[in-house]
């Protein structure tokens, strides 16, 4: 599983989790430090907000600690933590969507976008997108599309792993990733050309 980051192997994870379960809270700090980058990166990209991302990442670690005894495969703590992280991000977005209609509009826009062909891409004259532009464009994907895109292309998960984690079929996930790529490409080109919708 990619969620077990090298060079820390399965046995190492199992030993640290065992230590935490034995009452050594400080040992949990090791896992926090190891998985902080992933949690913050995923939460920030999914939520598009730094403060909210830090809150969700913190909540993820707290919930994981609280439920650590239920982690059936301590050696794969990373995969288990990622599942909690994905669920926390979903919950945060659901809460926000009740209040923020903009996000909901972005999701509905995604369904209307048609794939574009490579020859429609603008040539090298267009500036390369910045991270801020990419993050902004990412927010125009639906939650499901953004989640699938992030897990596949940023967290490097296989479709089988994604299916296990999200409870969604592989074919549906492939469709979401494909549509996410099309929509993201269109948004980035629009931003590069000075057009926004």
């Amino acid at each position: 599983m990619p969620s077990t980051d090298p060079p820390h192997d399965v046995a190492w994870h199992a030993s640290v989790v065992e230590r935490v379960l034995a009452g050594d809270v400080d040992a949990y700090g090791v896992l926090i430090a190891l998985y902080r980058p992933r949690c913050l990166r995923y939460a920030r990209r999914m939520l598009g907000d730094q403060d909210e991302a830090e809150d969700v990442a913190q909540e993820t670690f707290v919930r994981a600690f609280r439920s650590l005894a239920q982690c059936e495969q301590p050696g794969y703590f990373g995969a288990w933590l990622t599942r909690i992280l994905v669920n926390r991000c979903r919950t945060a977005l659901e809460k926000r969507m009740r209040w923020d209609r903009l996000v909901a509009r972005g999701g509905s826009t995604a369904e209307r976008v048609e794939p574009i062909e490579p020859d429609e891409w603008t040539s090298g004259e267009v500036e390369r997108p910045s991270l801020a532009q990419v993050e902004q464009a990412l927010q125009f994907l639906s939650t499901e599309q953004r989640e699938a895109f992030m897990l596949k292309h940023v967290e490097d998960m296989s479709y089988d792993e994604m299916a296990t984690l999200t409870g969604t079929s592989v074919s549906a996930l492939k469709m979401r990733v494909s549509r996410a790529r099309d929509l993201l490409r269109r948004r980035l080109l629009e931003v590069s050309n000075g057009r926004t919708t």
């Binding site: 820390h8 190492w12 030993s15 640290v16 230590r19 009452g23 050594d24 809270v25 400080d26 040992a27 949990y28 700090g29 090791v30 926090i32 430090a33 902080r36 980058p37 913050l40 990166r41 920030r44 990209r45 730094q50 991302a53 830090e54 990442a57 913190q58 670690f61 707290v62 600690f65 609280r66 490579p118 020859d119 891409w121 603008t122 040539s123 090298g124 267009v126 390369r128 997108p129 910045s130 991270l131 990419v134 993050e135 464009a137 990412l138 992030m150 596949k152 292309h153 940023v154 492939k174 990733v177 494909s178 790529r181 993201l184 490409r185 980035l188 080109l189 590069s192």
Partner: protein
């Protein structure tokens, strides 16, 4: 469908670079954050959560709690003795000695262990830190800490006597937390080194500070 990162997969110059691939590169970057502050904040939240969810009966069964209680009791006793001493010659040697025995119960690990940390510098600013643990019987002893990612196997101590073990570790200036690991399963802090803050529900780590800079 999977989205290759090679710019579309076609011959060079025949297909313009896909901006999505550039986007993926950017999205893979770590999010800037004050790592120490974030980690400390999360660990504090974890501790608060653990504290709030631990029943009092279970808390009272944990040795660390009793260690804390004993430490507080010893401090109070010492304070009382000091106050009595300050009032005049009425204090007896017996009462003072009793307070001393209470104070000595504060360490939570075996009192037979004796360790020291010695250092010497080299020209590159790296210092050799000697971790020494004595008076402990074990088949193997390692030291795990922030300097080796808390790896329980990376830094084994060598036996230099019947119950004396040492290892020299080159460390840059900074503050490092660590514990000894006996037989790959039992973690003990260094009985003769300063401790970090720890908390009420687990043993705190020992701390060694290598002079010349901040952080670890």
């Amino acid at each position: 469908m999977d989205g290759q990162l090679d710019g579309g997969g076609g011959p060079r110059d025949s297909v313009p670079p896909d901006p999505v691939n550039r986007a993926i590169e950017l999205l893979r970057l770590d999010v800037p954050v004050d790592e120490r502050a974030f980690d400390a904040r999360v660990l504090d939240a974890v501790r608060r959560d653990a504290r709030n969810r631990t029943p009092w009966r279970r808390r009272l069964r944990q040795p660390a709690v009793w260690g804390g209680v004993m430490a507080i009791a010893a401090s109070i006793a010492l304070l009382v003795v000091t106050q009595i001493n300050s009032r005049g010659p009425a204090t007896t040697p017996t009462s003072h000695a009793g307070a001393g025995r209470l104070a000595n119960t504060e360490p939570l690990i075996t009192t037979s262990a004796v360790s020291t940390v010695a250092m010497r510098s080299d020209a590159r600013g790296v210092q050799l830190v000697r971790f020494r643990l004595a008076g402990v019987r074990a088949r193997s002893i390692t030291v795990a800490g922030t300097f080796n990612g808390w790896n329980v196997s990376a830094t084994p101590l060598q036996r230099v006597g019947a119950t004396t073990w040492v290892v020299d570790v080159p460390l840059r200036a900074g503050r490092y937390s660590y514990q000894f690991v006996l037989d790959h399963r039992k973690w003990i802090p260094d009985p003769h080194a300063p401790r970090d803050a720890g908390d009420d529900f687990g043993p705190s780590n020992s701390v060694v500070t290598v002079a010349g800079g901040n952080g670890s």
